[in-house]
Structure formats: C-alpha cells, structure tokens
C-alpha cells in the first residue's frame, strides 16, 4: 500500500523554565493511502500532540514528516503551510471548533473561502456536503442552535468540503452520546470506504477503534504497538 504519511524519529519536548516534558519520543509511523488508523492511549500520552504535528498545527522538536512523499514542516513559508493545510488536510475536533458567530453555511464554506473559490461555487459545494451529512435544513443556523451531534456533522462537512486526501480527527465522538457518536462514526467510515480518504483518528473508545483498519497505541509519548 502506498504510504501517504511517514513520520520518522519524531520527538516533541515541551520546555518551561522549570521543567522539560517529553510528549513524544522517537515516533516512527507510516499510514497507507486510504487507510483508517486509530491512535489510542491514556490521557497525556501524546496522541493529540502527534495529530497536531501531522496536521502542521504544531512543530516537532526533531524528526521528519513526509506527506505524499514531500517533506513538510517549519522550513516551509507560512503561506505554503496554509495552502498545504487547506488543500491536503481536513480537521475534525472533539469540541467541534466551529466559529460561533458564523452560521452553518458560512462555517462550512471557510476552507473554500481561504482557497479563493468563487462564492457561487463554494455555496453549491457547501450545500452538497451539508446534504451528505444530513444538515441541509440547518444551513442558516448558528452553532449555538445545534446539538452536539449536529455540530460535529457540520465540522465533518467543513473538513471534507475541500476534498482533502487526509482527515485528522481528534476524539470526534468524545463530546457526543453513543447514538450521535455512532452517526458520526458512520459518516467517517463512509468517507473512508466510498471516497477513499485517509483518516487518522485519536480516540479513547476501544470499540470504535476496533472498527478501523489499524490501531496504533501510545504510552508516555512512545509508540507501543
């Protein structure tokens, strides 16, 4: 299987004046194209840090990240990093991270706005993805008027509107009840199976992790299997 993500010797150290914390230690990980990988481990083991590093939201202290064969990282300009995030990655966060002052339609369109897509096209594409996640009737609502499950579906719609190859999702069901969580997982599986998107998911839920192609476990910043 072609490898879309390659992490080589990733270390992450958080330093303050008093203490130094090793969040990730020599992580070597490869993710195949179209693979659905779960990352599991106890709280504080570095799962989210790893996801942030893959998503270029955080910088490793050392090590190399390759996505689609290209080395990416802080050597890239801010504009190039932004373009990379916009075109290759989609994020789904545990706490949704929708912009509260924008309605559903505007939230979902944001990646296309940053890409410079015309208003007409971005509206059309937002409609399609919102229909796909079953929220076409909520387009004019603001996030505070939606349930948690609906917010997460909006976040998924926002993550996929730009057709990114990789979706990074950090405990997407962590704030949802089991029914809504199952709905969200169904959508993610559908995106993986039908669209062939690569998904890396951080989760605490063993059952959800077992439904994915592979589980990577972490403990104290180290990859244990």
């Amino acid at each position: 299987m072609e490898k879309i993500i390659k992490l080589n010797g990733i270390n992450k150290v958080y330093r303050t004046n008093e203490i130094e914390t090793q969040a990730l230690e020599n992580v070597n990980l490869e993710v195949g194209k179209g693979e659905f990988v779960s990352i599991m481990g106890p709280s504080g083991c570095g799962k989210s840090t790893l996801l942030n590093i893959i998503g270029l939201l955080d910088a490793p202290s050392s090590g190399k990240i390759e996505i689609n064969g290209d080395e990416i990282g802080t050597h890239m300009s801010d504009r190039a990093l932004a373009r990379f995030r916009n075109q290759t990655l989609g994020f789904v966060f545990q706490s949704f991270h929708l912009i509260p002052s924008l309605n559903v339609m505007d939230n979902v369109q944001l990646p296309l706005v940053y890409r410079g897509v015309s208003h007409r096209e971005s509206v059309e594409r937002a409609r399609i993805v919102l229909e796909r996640v079953g929220l076409s009737h909520r387009m004019r609502h603001i996030p505070s008027q939606l349930s948690g499950g609906q917010c997460q579906r909006v976040a998924i719609a926002r993550a996929i509107i730009g057709n990114p190859e990789i979706i990074l999702t950090d405990e997407p069901t962590g704030n949802l009840d089991s029914k809504m969580g199952a709905e969200v997982m169904d959508i993610l599986h559908e995106l993986n199976r039908n669209d062939g998107r690569t998904i890396v998911m951080v989760t605490h839920n063993e059952e959800q992790a077992r439904q994915t192609d592979r589980i990577v476990r972490f403990f104290d910043g180290r990859q244990v299997c």
Binding site: L57, A82, R83, R85, F93, L102, Q109, L110, Y114
Partner: protein
C-alpha cells in the same frame, strides 16, 4: 467575504458594542478639536506674500527722565527728529543692509495692531472694501515693497516703489482688493478713494499678504503716511524701522557684529538701540501673545488625547476580543488561512467599524454645525469678508475635509490598535491557540 464579515460582526454586536459607542464619541470629539487645528494649520500654510527671512526689526528706546543718561537738552522735537534721521542713516548705510522701511506706528507685519479703512473704486457701482493699511514714510530711500519683497500679482516679480511715489498719491493694493473693486488684478493706473475722501492712483497690485502667520490674508493697501517723519517725543515707538539684509549675508555673523559694534554706538540724543529682532522671531512672539500658538497647542493636545483614547480603546478591545477569539484564530489557521489572511480579516473588521462609526459621527456633526448656522455663514463673522479661494472659508469643502481628516485619523489609529494584538495572536502555533480553549 465582506458580507460574511458583516454577518459575523452583526452576530457579535454585543461584543463590539462598547468600541462602537467609543468610536462614535471619539469621532465627534476629534471633529471638534481637529476643526480649529486644521484651520490654523491651513492658514499658517498660506503663502505670507512676503519673504520673512532676512528681515529685522530695529528695537529702539528712549532714556526716561529718571535715567542718568537722559539729557533735557536733546529732548526737543527738532533735535529728536535730527537724531532719528541719523539713526535711519546709520541703518541704511550698514554694508549688510539691502533695503529698509520706516513704518508708521505698528503698521507692519505681526505688529499686533490693525490700521483699517475703507477703499472705494472709482465708480458708484462698486462697493467699498474693508482694508488693512500699511503706512510708511519714504524717507532716505525707505521702501516697504522692496524691503518686504512684495510680489506683483500679475508678474510675480518683486515690486518697488514708483519713481513718482513721493510726489503723487499712489497706493498699492493686494489682489483681493483689486478683484473686489474691479474684478481683475491689472488695475495699475486706476483711481480709488480712501475713506471716500482722498483720490489715489493704484501704483500696482501685490499678491495677498498675511499680516500674521496664523491669519488669512486680509485685503490690504500700502501707502505713504506722509513724505517725511515728524519730530515728537515718542518717535521711537511711532516710527518702526524694518530692514532687510542683503542676500548671502550670514545672519548669525551679522547679528553678532550688530550687537558688538553697531548697537553700543547707536545712541543719538536720548534715543538708543536695544537690539534687533528677526521678524520671524517677532512673528512667533506675536503668535504667542495673540494666543494663536496656544490654540494650535491646545487642539493638538486634545486631538492627541482623542487619538490616544481610540488607540487604547482599540488595542484594549481587540486585545480582549483577540484573546477571546484565539480559538477562532487557531481554527482559521487549521482550515488554511495564512497569517496575512487573518490579519487582513481583523483589519477589515476595524475598517468597517471605523467607517460605520465615522459616518454616524459625521452625521451628528453635520446636524450640529447645520443647526449652528455653519453652512449659512461660512464659518465667518458677518462683518468679515471670507475669501472663497481658501477651503476653510467654504462650508461644504471645509466640512468634508475636516470629516475626512477625522476619518483617516481614526482609521490609522484603529488599524495600528488592531495590528498589535492580532499580530501577537497569529504568531502563536495553531495548536496552542486551540489547546487553551
């Protein structure tokens, strides 16, 4: 994008409410303090109509009866006159002096006095013009036009007195006088009447002349008060001597030599020289005394204060907002917004806020000045004759320019006040911005 931004700002109207009200209040405040400041600065920037550099005023005094140097023998009008003529001769014979003028009491630039009159054209159809008069005495080559370097309104050349100035009733008028009396400036040779009594011939038309640096040019006439000065007990303040040093003379060197060599020797009878003042210094002192400079200082301080309030308000508000919106900034970056893009969005928000609030503030000020009669009177007292070539005398351009200056001042300060906290926020790693939420 702008519509999205407007919707977003509307949805955040509660958070924006305070800065919105503050901007309106400061906008009105700024308009009020910028108005006189801009007018003063605009007036200051109007060409003086003469060259101030190189001009000196001779400061004269007279020993009083209690002074040990006082001489009763010299305290007669005839000896005083002789002495004063001698003083004039000394000044005009100084090798550095190019020209000089003996003015009637306080009728020279920045003298602080106003010698007014009415000038009539040579036709019953023309209205009279309120004028300011500069009187001088053409004694021993005294020439006001040449000394001040009045410029001809038609040719731009430096003017000089007509050869028959001493023998005929010749006056020189400013271009605004010529325009008001005759509708044109090529009026040399025309007749005019001063106070409807004395018929004068116009010897030439000079460019508009400012009596004081912070005033607008006033319609002006230059004429001789008489062919010669007359003796009196108070000649030292009645006849002011202004002179111009030749081009290329080092001012500091000349002043040094004057104070060391000329001044101590310039004692004639009871009259003695106390020194010389550069006319520029004299003008500045006059601006101090008349309060013109204080108006500029006071309004500059008020304007700075207003702008500081806006700056601190914007920095504070955006600091709070940006801190509250750090998660949003993190989300924007995770979705592919560059730092530049985020900065541009916040600047756009500031621009919209300032524009909307400025429109409201300008509307309020428009209503206020309209109610005060600003547009009806043109901002001038009814007795004055505003020269409409200056924007500050035209109500609509005046209002528009002050409003524009107010808007731009608010805009610049607001953008700076926005960039500082936003710049700080976008330098963070997106993960940190998202983590803290």
């Amino acid at each position: 994008m702008v519509m999205t931004l407007l919707r977003q700002m509307w949805n955040r109207r509660r958070q924006n409410g305070w800065i919105f009200l503050e901007l309106i209040a400061v906008g009105i405040f700024l308009w009020v303090v910028l108005d006189p400041l801009c007018v003063q600065i605009a007036n200051k920037n109007i060409d003086r109509g003469y060259e101030q550099d190189g001009l000196y005023l001779l400061n004269m005094d007279k020993y009083g009866k209690r002074s040990a140097r006082y001489s009763r023998e010299y305290d007669t009008d005839s000896i005083g006159l002789e002495n004063y003529h001698d003083i004039i001769r000394v000044i005009c014979n100084l090798p550095e002096v190019g020209s000089f003028v003996v003015n009637e009491s306080s009728t020279f630039a920045n003298s602080g006095s106003f010698y007014g009159g009415n000038l009539y054209g040579d036709s019953a159809l023309t209205k009279d013009v309120d004028i300011q008069c500069y009187w001088f005495y053409p004694v021993g080559g005294s020439d006001m036009l040449k000394t001040y370097r009045f410029r001809d309104a038609n040719t731009g050349e430096i003017m000089g007195l007509s050869p028959d100035f001493r023998s005929k009733n010749i006056v020189y008028v400013s271009e605004s006088v010529a325009r008001r009396l005759y509708g044109r400036t090529d009026v040399a040779g025309e007749k005019c009447w001063l106070g409807n009594r004395n018929c004068n011939e116009i010897g030439g038309v000079f460019r508009d002349f400012k009596d004081r640096d912070y005033n607008q040019p006033y319609p002006m006439m230059v004429a001789k008060m008489g062919s010669t000065i007359r003796g009196s007990k108070t000649m030292h303040w009645r006849y002011s001597i202004v002179f111009r040093v030749k081009d290329g003379v080092d001012a500091d060197g000349f002043e040094h030599r004057f104070n060391e060599e000329v001044k101590p020797a310039l004692v004639r009878g009871n009259y003695y020289c106390t020194g010389i003042s550069r006319l520029g210094e004299y003008a500045r002192n006059m601006a101090e005394m008349t309060g013109d400079l204080n108006v500029v200082r006071k309004n500059t301080i008020f304007a700075m204060f207003g702008l500081c309030c806006v700056f601190l308000g914007m920095v504070g508000t955006f600091w709070v907002q940006v801190n509250a919106r750090r998660q949003e900034i993190g989300v924007m970056r995770s979705l592919g917004a560059s730092k530049y893009r985020i900065m541009a969005q916040f600047i756009m928000e500031a621009l919209i806020l300032v524009t909307v609030t400025s429109v409201i503030a300008i509307a309020v000020m428009g209503y206020y000045v309209h109610a005060e009669g600003f547009f009806a009177k043109g901002g001038m007292q009814s007795g004055e004759m505003p020269d409409m070539q200056y924007w500050q005398n035209n109500p609509l351009p005046h209002f528009m320019i002050i409003s524009l200056v107010m808007y731009l001042s608010l805009l610049v300060i607001s953008i700076i006040g926005t960039c500082i906290p936003v710049g700080r926020a976008i330098r963070e790693l997106p993960a940190d911005a998202l983590r803290e939420e």
